[in-house]
Amino acid sequence: MDRRMYRGNMGNNCGCSRNNSQFRHSEPVCEDVCGNHIREDMCEKHVCEDMCDKSRHDGDFDRFPIAMCYVPWQCFRDLYENEFAALANGTLFKELDLKWYGRGCK
């Protein structure tokens, strides 16, 4: 994740540049996702877990501004038991061991 982009979407600026955007809310949408947690204490486990739990909800994408990218915050957890298992699965993180749905254009 590009953290600079993440920073740019936090706080009271939800990323909506137009005042008449239908996505403007009294509560900034990005506040729901990242709050004000991007600080030096973000490495604290309870803060990180809280961020992950908040970013996990995925049922209200219609509240987000269009044409923006959103990446759920990853936590350092659920690792494979050793380096051989990590290499065999293509990632150290079990959460990133996902099914591949890509296909060709034919």
Binding site: D2, R3, F76
Partner: protein, 85 residues
């Protein structure tokens, strides 16, 4: 027996290098994550020690680790098309 140990050591270097690469990607966006930093210290140390042991016992894995003892030892290792890269 020695060849078996060599293969095991090389396999560990391959796997531990992958873990370090994956950890680096995580740390690029989580530079203050203490658990990840501690894991990096352990993983990179284990990887570096394995590379040092392999280099000492079997020869250099990359050209930066070649120690010239009146001979360029890099070319004595198998080439990629000979089964190792």
């Amino acid at each position: 027996m020695d060849g078996n140990n060599r293969e095991k050591l090389y396999a560990f270097i391959t796997a531990s290098s992958f873990v370090c690469d994956d950890l680096r990607l995580f740390l690029d966006t989580h530079p203050t994550d203490r658990a990840a930093l501690e894991y990096w210290d352990r993983a990179s140390q284990a990887r570096n020690e394995a590379v040092m042991e392999y280099t000492k016992c079997y020869g250099p894995i990359n050209s930066y680790h070649v120690e010239n003892d009146c001979k360029w030892a890099w070319v004595e290792e198998p080439w990629p098309w000979e089964g190792r890269c």
